[in-house]
Symmetry: C2
């Protein structure tokens, strides 16, 4: 039996069994297909949860900031890719990291290669960031000529080792269906291989391909012609993944316990203590409406039930969450009760909260930002 009687304020609950099962599942699928699994640790940002990955044989990881790389290096991780374009204002810290771990960096311009090459005196692995359709960062996959000056520039710098091509097909997060997600994944793999082929024809052989987004990696049966995968969100999943059909309800491993502070039956709403500073202001879109979370009742052994059909967080301010609740539940709910809210985007909610509480009441620390 779980005991939430001591929960006083918004608290990010973890179901450790589900977390471990999510890790085990992705790790074994990668292993079965001979792919390097380099999970993105930006989702959980926790040394302890990192150990659960280590128990599944994981030795290489991905992070999204220099601070995160330092934190995990301090916790014994020796092979870290920083999947964010190199920030030239942090080269001193990159230099220190390169001295003690196998560090992978992302570049997308010859200028950055020059600045980096002029300052680093320890070896790093360089990944070229490829845009396969997200249009966030990276060079377009179909412009081979844009990659050539960077590769040529890398040749001048003995400490910059060319590792390969890296993409984040994050447009899968906006796909409308599992089929579309699978299509985006496969299309990205295809585009990466066309680029690899084209660069090989120009003399750049042996480039690895790194790909990785939770929607794609969760849904495809075959990872295809890639060398490594880097999903992160799958460790917990969330309302976005659930509503996109990427995971099942029983795989959602985190929920925000929020105290009820007011009940308004006349407008089918309850007010919870749990706002934008806890859940983040990310959202899912359902029938053209923004929803800031799914809503579940507490469960005596699993922590929380399946989300209530027709219940959702309709608005958030700094500390308040407004929950639309179907009429039949309203009579049962009182101020002082707890509701469990599945955050739209767990990476942002976890970062906002700064620690976890397992459903059994144990605190799990995260990196301090």
């Amino acid at each position: 039996m779980v005991d939430f009687s001591d929960i006083q304020k918004p608290t990010l609950l973890l179901h450790p069994g589900r977390v471990r099962e999510n890790i085990r599942m992705m790790a074994s699928r990668a292993r079965a297909q001979g792919k390097r699994f380099r999970p993105h640790f930006k989702t959980h940002q926790s040394a302890e949860i990192g150990e659960w990955f280590r128990e599944e044989g994981i030795t290489s990881i991905t992070v999204s900031s220099v601070d995160m790389a330092i934190y995990f290096a301090d916790h014994g991780w020796g092979d870290i890719t920083l999947a964010f374009p190199v920030n030239l204002r942090q080269v001193d810290e990159l230099q220190e990291l390169a001295a003690r771990i196998k560090l992978g960096l992302l570049v997308e311009s010859a200028e950055v290669v020059r600045s980096l090459g002029a300052r680093l005196t320890h070896g790093v692995n360089i990944w070229l960031k490829v845009d396969t359709g997200l249009h966030r960062a990276g060079l377009p996959w179909d412009q081979t000529s844009a990659f050539l000056p960077i590769l040529a520039g890398l040749e001048h710098h003995p400490f910059l080792n060319v590792a390969g091509l890296l993409t984040h097909a994050g447009h899968s997060y906006h796909a409308d269906s599992p089929d579309e997600i699978i299509h985006i994944y496969n299309e990205s793999v295809k585009r990466m291989n066309i680029l690899r082929q084209s660069l090989a024809s120009s003399g750049w052989r042996g480039l690895e391909i790194s790909i990785g987004d939770t929607p794609g990696c969760s849904l495809v049966a075959d990872f295809g012609e890639v060398d490594e995968i880097r999903p992160g969100n799958f460790v917990f999943y969330d309302a976005q993944q659930l509503s996109a059909g990427v995971c099942r309800v029983e795989q959602v491993a985190a929920a925000m316990a929020c105290p009820v502070v007011a009940v308004h039956p006349e407008r089918s709403e309850i007010v919870v203590y749990g706002g934008a500073i806890h859940l983040s202001k990310d959202w899912i879109e359902v029938n053209g409406e923004r929803r800031f979370g799914l809503v579940a009742l507490c469960h005596s052994t699993d922590g929380w039930n399946a989300p209530i059909s027709g219940a959702y967080v309709s608005a958030l301010s700094q500390e308040h969450g407004i929950v639309h609740m179907p009429e039949q539940y309203l009579a049962e709910i009182q101020p002082g009760d707890l509701m469990c809210i599945i955050p739209p985007h767990i990476c942002l909610a976890a970062q906002a909260m700064g620690f976890y509480r397992t459903i059994h009441g144990r605190r799990i620390e995260m990196m301090k930002s």
Copy 2:
């Protein structure tokens, strides 16, 4: 001359002169009209900035969480209203606070009054939360009968002192023009007075009226028939207030310095280190498009310039910000430069960052959450 050469990662800059001027302006306007000024400290959450208010003669404040009340009580504030519906799971902490400061609490149901009355043994001031149109929390202003059982319930509890009626006319944040904001403010004041009158006819005399939202309090010439005002955001202002015409560019007192990590002239974009975990994922809407921040160049004495016309943050992920930038600026911008981003909603950005740096390089601490 400001010196940003040591800024390595997203950093929330403050212009202390503007902050003090914003405080001075609102404090003197309240004083001139004989209104109690009870500024909302949830925006800055900083004991040091609190002292700047104290220098303007402020002795009463508003907060939005029990933790924030404890933090400011620990920093010498003796008159605090917790402008959030009472969370029954934190009554022990409220009891401790009530023993040492003048504590104001919000209620909106007879059940909560009963639970609170049964447990508190120190006096608190009770404000009835009124919904004048935001529909977030509170009882509808035009249903006098909904307030009567609560007031009657309060009579049974010697430690629950009736203070008055409190509203947050936060729908002003979604208004389309300064005129509409002024209209919402005046309408809310009118509704509060109708309710006060109606409750007086039922025998409940002497209820105070507390109102307060930054848009309304910034724009009205006359605060009207109210006893206290509680704006908070005005201390810094932000992109939402600027684009709503609530403040002038020279009043915006906070901006996020973000390192440029990539420049993509072919799509008129730059990528900055500065994402949803720094700026929050709140937004402003311009021509039906979401924008996650306004964008300015650094300025040698003021910290940042006026926002660049036509430049805005078009997308945010966890650590990345995508900035749309007019063509004429792109040639000048290099990876390693800093851009100054005016956050859409400064309360959320400040909470996310956890500390400030003045444009002169001094660190200002906030409450740790």
